[in-house]
């Protein structure tokens, strides 16, 4: 499958990535190769094989419903660019 510049731009937008137009061709080629590999794998007969959600042959352990964390807001917010009244401040998001 050939990936064109338009697809790269769309995917970049969804991923919130800024891509230099000069790099578009490079990404397009790389991604085409990845998809070709996926295409080859797609050809493998997987009839009767259950999808694998995790490569480890184990199941999830559950934890008891107990509060174990304490308030460490100060420590966490020390590295935040901007805070006010305990809130993290970010550029305005409009619904």
């Amino acid at each position: 499958m050939k990936v064109d510049h338009e697809v790269i731009q769309t995917v970049a937008e969804l991923s919130q990535l800024k891509i230099d137009p000069a790099d578009l061709e490079n990404y397009a080629q790389g991604m085409t190769q990845v998809l070709d590999l996926a295409g080859r794998m797609q050809a493998i007969d997987t009839q009767g094989v259950a999808p694998m959600s995790n490569p480890l042959d184990a199941t999830q352990r559950l934890r008891p419903d107990v509060v174990t964390e304490t308030n460490q807001r100060e420590a966490f917010q020390a590295i935040a660019p901007e805070t006010e009244d305990g809130l993290y401040l970010v550029p305005r998001v409009v619904e």
């Binding site: 969804l14 959600s53 934890r63 964390e69 809130l87 401040l89 305005r92 998001v93």
Partner: protein, 484 residues
């Protein structure tokens, strides 16, 4: 009611209900879920998506989800898998929400709703899956910036998805109410809608009556009251009919219901369609449960509302409508059952709980958990009526005294206030004689066969004795004296 019911259109409605599970800690971290804490004091490194942290699933979340599944007769996923749903928003610090896509914990199941005209309808549930809630964005008062509170991030949610089986706002509300009743009954959620514990997204489309094709649907998001749900759906149905009838086309989009303006309006959609790029969550292994676990959850489940109502009808011989009221809430049902137990009279208990107790609770805006009269006190009070120790009328006085706090125990209050019903004819006869003597005209009419006048005499005696006379006995005594 809406006017579209008479039009040539019919509506197709499906609901997605997000229920907040009432756990102490979050779904993947040990941070507290308590409501109302200062911003970001309950958001730990896992909730904040710090590098190097790993989620661990809360076992209580599973127990509650399984209980819900059993409550709607669903298939429980013995192996369930978490997936990542990727999107960017500042209140989602990881850049993805952990949810369940391909292998949810609850699959299928049905809900039987009862409509106002007593007709019934079965609504199919597609699935219910576990996921984490996002944080909260505050858009005002931050100098043009947005404030983010991540206390809610990681709060466990059960998203319950219905099939598009509903065809009116009334049905959708009945379904949502049923789900609300079920999750609160099971203790799965506190169901407090004002705190966002139950939020509805409504998928609505319209089509010509009789058509089997589905029209283009819109999704109205985050409706947090039953009243708003009804209004939002009705507005959306009417809007879509207007759009189509004026030659337009309904666009698939996400809309927001604005209760202040009482309208739905489109949320600003991004220019590019969303693509959540789901994939299995690599930080979590599949969760496996077995039949023994499911059986254990089943055994711990309380009797559900529908079963309770049926039992009240068969065991207590209550009318179905009354049984439904009494079984509608867990605390109310438990209150009623205690009163029955203590009073030994289910019918009287039903009347007193539904009429007097619920009436007073309603009037004073008090929740049943805060009712000033305990089930023990009401049960005793009813037992005294039954034994003939006090009349129903006096019982109301005692009830009021208990409610206002003037009395704490019915028996001592009845004793102290001398409210015991007068049943010995020795003290009643002089009163009756005096009333007969004072009303010769009425006596004459009663003798002539005006049976209705008996009520007048009994009333007079009751008035004279301050309601303490036994009405049946007064009736008998008067009949005897007048030779009726």
């Amino acid at each position: 009611m809406t006017d579209f019911a008479d039009s040539n259109w019919e509506a197709v409605i499906g609901l997605e209900i997000h229920t907040q599970l009432s756990t102490r800690s979050k779904i993947f971290s040990g941070a507290s879920t308590q409501f109302g804490a200062a911003p970001n004091t309950q958001a730990c490194a896992i909730d904040l998506g710090f590098p190097g942290v790993l989620p661990v699933v809360n076992q209580e979340v599973y127990r509650k989800a399984v209980a819900f599944g059993l409550g709607i007769g669903a298939t429980i996923g013995l192996t369930s898998v978490f997936d990542r749903k990727n999107y960017f928003y500042p209140d989602l610090p990881k850049g993805y929400q952990i949810t369940q896509l391909e292998a949810p914990i609850v699959m299928g199941g049905t809900v039987d709703i009862t409509l106002e005209d007593s007709s019934q309808k079965t609504i199919r549930v597609t699935r219910a899956h576990l996921e984490e809630d996002a944080g909260k964005s505050l858009h005002e008062d931050f100098h043009g910036q947005t404030g983010i509170d991540l206390n809610r991030a990681g709060t466990p949610l059960l998203e319950i998805v219905s099939e598009p089986d509903m065809s009116s706002a009334e049905e959708a509300v009945a379904y949502a109410r049923y789900i609300h009743q079920l999750v609160t009954f099971l203790g799965v959620s506190d169901g407090d809608m004002s705190q966002g514990s139950l939020r509805c997204d409504a998928n609505v489309s319209v089509r010509p009556k009789g058509s089997t094709e589905l029209g283009t649907r819109t999704e109205t998001k985050n409706v947090n009251s039953f009243r708003f749900l009804e209004r939002a759906i009705n507005h959306e149905i009417e809007r879509q009919i207007r759009v189509i009838e004026s030659g337009g086309r309904v666009i698939q989009e996400t809309r927001l219901y604005d209760p202040d303006k009482d309208e739905t309006r489109p949320m600003r959609s991004k220019e590019t369609a969303t693509d959540y790029r789901y994939f299995p969550e690599p930080d979590l292994l599949p969760v496996e449960i077995d039949e023994a676990y499911i059986q254990q959850v089943r055994e711990q489940m309380p009797e559900l509302p529908a079963a309770k109502a049926a039992r009240y009808v068969s065991e207590f011989e209550l009318p179905e409508a009354d049984a439904r009221v009494l079984s509608s809430e867990r605390q109310l049902a438990s209150y009623f059952e205690q009163v029955v137990e203590l009073s030994g009279d289910a019918k009287l208990a039903s009347n007193w709980v539904r009429v007097e107790l619920l009436g007073q609770l309603n009037k004073d805006g008090v929740e049943i958990s805060d009712a000033p009269i305990t089930p023990a006190a009401l049960g005793t009070l009813i037992a005294r009526i039954r034994e003939g120790r006090i009349s129903g009328k006096i019982a109301k006085t005692v009830f009021e005294a208990l409610w206002s706090g003037a009395a704490s125990d019915p028996d001592s209050y009845i004793e102290a206030e001398g409210l015991v019903q007068v049943s010995d004819s020795g003290s009643l006869e002089p009163v009756i004689d005096a009333i007969i003597a004072a009303n010769p005209k009425q006596v004459e009419q009663l003798r002539e066969g005006k049976g209705k006048l008996m009520g007048f005499f009994v009333g007079q005696v009751m008035k004279e004795t301050g309601g303490k006379a036994n009405p049946q006995q007064v009736n008998d005594l008067i009949s005897k004296k007048l030779g009726l």
